[in-house]
């Protein structure tokens, strides 16, 4: 009897282990199943003589939390009317997860605020980085008694985040702002604690404008922030705005879609020195000016930084928002559906129109970038 029980126990353990073992392969299994479904649909579509566009296709998007509102509340409902046979789903997981999901095939589209690194592309050369929109970022601060827009430069910001500039009345800051009375208040640099496209943008700006930062910290979606005693890491743009508004003397970088909420919370935002030496605000006109300059040097794979562009009015911290897709899709039906959606998304009269972009604070692509994105989209095949 005891032996029987033991045997049952062992069998059960083996059974559980087998199930658990299957669990680790889960992602590839799901991907396979969905491929199989698409294939069947494709076959049935072909046999009935219809074009593959009428077969039901599922397109899954994961990634950037900044792009999520554009997908979830704008593009998904709008595109459902355009192509009812395509089931587009969106999930906010963070850019890094979006890229790895698209690479592994878990998702069809990975949304990312940052383009893929050279090392990643070398590993997975079949990934396309396709810009779909333009975003920007502002530097916000909480200094009691200071009204108007403080003038700041990349090197000064780098020194603040490295802990070299400790007080707001430091000579480096006062000399940039001759008319402004700055208090003797300790600076609290706030950075994003989570992985973030905003960190990528900000650190890229510091790397481009400050050679020491470029050598020591460099840029990424997470960097090794210098150990400054007062420094705070906060989660998400909402966390940064909360930390800024509750902490006197704080400074931080915030995505442009949070500008209104930040100013409502009593924060100021800075004029930044651009390449031409002018101090500029993140207005729509200044962001567009920078985007137009940046569009001139976009390479064919479109992985490019738009930081610190030339031009008198160019705002220095802007970027492309990317959709990351595989060029070789598992089936012709999926490839066609993906191509059609991507073309729709970047079309200035369709997905890229201000109707969808303005509510989420993005700007449409400049026209010559549109052409380059289209060439990349054509590379997608089944």
């Amino acid at each position: 009897m005891r032996y029987n029980k033991l045997l049952a126990g062992v069998t059960a353990l083996v059974a559980v282990a087998t199930v658990a073992g299957c669990g680790t392969n889960n992602t590839s299994n799901t991907a396979n199943t969905s491929n199989a479904t698409t294939n069947t649909n494709n076959v049935s579509g072909n046999t009935s003589g219809n074009a593959s566009t009428t077969a039901n296709v599922q397109l899954a998007e994961t990634g950037s939390s900044l792009l999520y509102p554009l997908f979830n509340s704008q593009w998904v409902p709008a595109y459902h009317k355009v192509a009812p046979n395509v089931q587009l789903t969106a999930a906010s997981t963070g850019s890094g997860t979006g890229i790895s999901d698209a690479t592994s095939g878990t998702a069809d589209i990975g949304a990312s605020d940052a383009y893929m690194a050279d090392a990643q592309i070398a590993q997975t050369p079949d990934m396309l980085n396709i810009p779909v929109a333009i975003s920007a970022q502002q530097i916000m601060y909480n200094i009691p008694g200071v009204t108007g827009h403080l003038k700041l430069t990349g090197p000064v910001l780098a020194d603040i985040y490295e802990g070299k500039i400790k007080y707001w009345d430091d000579q480096a800051i006062t000399s940039l702002n001759p008319g402004t009375k700055l208090p003797h208040l300790q600076i609290v640099p706030v950075h994003r604690s989570d992985s973030s496209g905003d960190t990528f943008l900000f650190t890229q700006f510091l790397s481009d404008t400050d050679s020491n930062w470029s050598k020591t910290i460099s840029y990424s979606t997470s960097v090794s922030w210098p150990g400054v005693q007062t420094a705070i890491g906060a989660k998400g743009n909402d966390g940064v705005v909360a930390a800024l508004s509750s902490t006197k003397g704080s400074i931080g970088y915030v995505g442009i879609s949070w500008l209104a909420k930040g100013t409502q919370a009593g924060l100021g935002y800075a004029q930044l020195k651009n390449k031409a030496g002018n101090f500029v605000l993140p207005t729509t006109a200044n962001i567009k000016a920078a985007a137009t300059q940046g569009a001139k040097h976009v390479p064919s794979d479109e992985r490019v930084s738009l930081i610190d562009e030339p031009g008198a009015n160019s705002y220095p911290i802007i970027n492309f928002e990317y959709l990351i897709v595989k060029d070789d899709q598992p089936s012709a039906a999926k490839a066609t559906a993906l191509k059609n959606f991507m073309k729709w998304a970047i079309d200035p009269s369709k997905g890229n129109s201000s109707k969808y972009m303005t509510p989420v604070n993005f700007l449409p692509l400049p026209s010559n970038v549109y052409a380059k994105s289209e060439v990349q989209i054509q590379k997608i095949h089944g």
Partner: protein
């Protein structure tokens, strides 16, 4: 005797297998999780060695730069993984949480067990248990909106004024995001666990013993102090260990109020810090963009260290409880 039917035998067999699967699954899960974490950590263990637990600099390296080869491992240029800051953060926040939570829990449990009766006792007990059910992100939000400003403007300054002569208690109180706030928030999350367990323990103290205490002229406090507390001590150590484990593993609430410091050890009680659990949650997304994969291995090793420390505290707690007399054990066995 009636013959057992085939169907009944089969049902019995299915029942046996089903119970065995269910009973076996926790073991399998523990082994599977530990196994995967260990396996994933191996490259970083080889790459960093002991420096992983003694180093204070955590750098994923230049993910957009060149890949270098160090000791046979491909890593992004400049990569170095030193987790001491996060280990210290986890230990310090959870210990502060225990220092706050243990007295509160004992006194609350005592009141709930001995002092309030009927409807009031019932309502209070329910409230304590409801506290345990508050999602940690809600506690974290409360931490950001209420505790952090309060620590920054009032409580931190109060502590500093009274205990500032002790090195770690002085210095800059700062923004309120940091060690003390994290400890307070964690304390609030573990008080319900410790309290409800301790209340049940107090209720198991034989009435005869307590009445005897009162009978020889002890006050209520003396009865608790000299009869109840010694009686429940073993179980109470277990309750504290349970709360400690929870405090070390808590992620979201700490992530929201800790200030998420990196590359710097806490300078005082108010310094921004980060814990292992919160740091893993923060960095995983970027780690996945590391083409060499080393960043994910590093976070795995961090998870391994957290797992080992949590299991170690549990084992130590068990060891503390073990060598007691059998009589008490009957009363408090759980």
């Amino acid at each position: 005797m009636r013959r057992v039917s085939g169907a009944s035998k089969a049902a019995d067999r299915i029942f046996q297998v089903a119970t065995a699967i269910c009973a076996g699954s926790p073991v399998v899960f523990l082994v599977a999780i530990a196994g995967i974490v260990v396996y994933q950590s191996i490259p970083t263990i080889q790459f960093m060695g002991l420096h992983f637990v003694s180093g204070t600099q955590w750098n994923l390296g230049s993910l957009y730069g060149a890949v270098t080869k160090v000791h046979g491992h491909e890593v992004p240029a400049g990569a170095s993984y030193g987790a001491l800051v996060f280990i210290a953060g986890t230990m310090l926040t959870s210990i502060i949480a225990l220092i706050i939570a243990v007295p509160i829990s004992i006194l609350t449990a005592m009141i709930l067990a001995y002092q309030v009766r009927g409807a009031l006792g019932f309502v209070l007990s329910i409230l304590v248990e409801l506290l345990a059910g508050i999602p940690s992100v809600v506690v974290g939000l409360w931490g950001i909106l209420v505790v952090a400003p309060w620590v920054s403007h009032h409580f931190g300054i109060f502590i500093k004024d009274i205990l500032g002569f002790i090195p770690f208690f002085g210095g800059n109180v700062g923004s309120g995001y940091g060690l003390l706030t994290s400890g307070i928030v964690l304390a609030m999350m573990i008080v319900p666990i410790i309290t409800s367990t301790t209340r049940d323990l107090f209720l198991q103290v034989p009435l005869l013993a307590r009445e005897g205490g009162l009978g020889i002229g002890m006050t209520t406090w003396e009865t608790v102090r000299y009869i109840s507390i010694p009686y429940i001590r073993d179980g109470f150590v277990g309750a504290v260990a349970l709360g400690w484990g929870r405090a070390m593993g808590e992620t979201m609430a700490v992530l929201m109020v800790s200030g998420n410091a990196m590359n710097i050890l806490p300078q005082n009680l108010y310094s921004p810090i980060s814990t292992m659990a919160a740091f893993i949650a923060n960095q995983l997304d970027s780690a996945q963009t590391d083409a060499t994969g080393m960043a994910v291995h590093a976070l795995s090793e961090l998870a391994l260290v957290l797992l080992v420390i949590t299991l170690a505290t549990n084992l130590i707690a068990r060891w503390l409880v073990r060598p007691r007399g059998a009589r008490r054990k009957v009363g408090v066995s759980r």
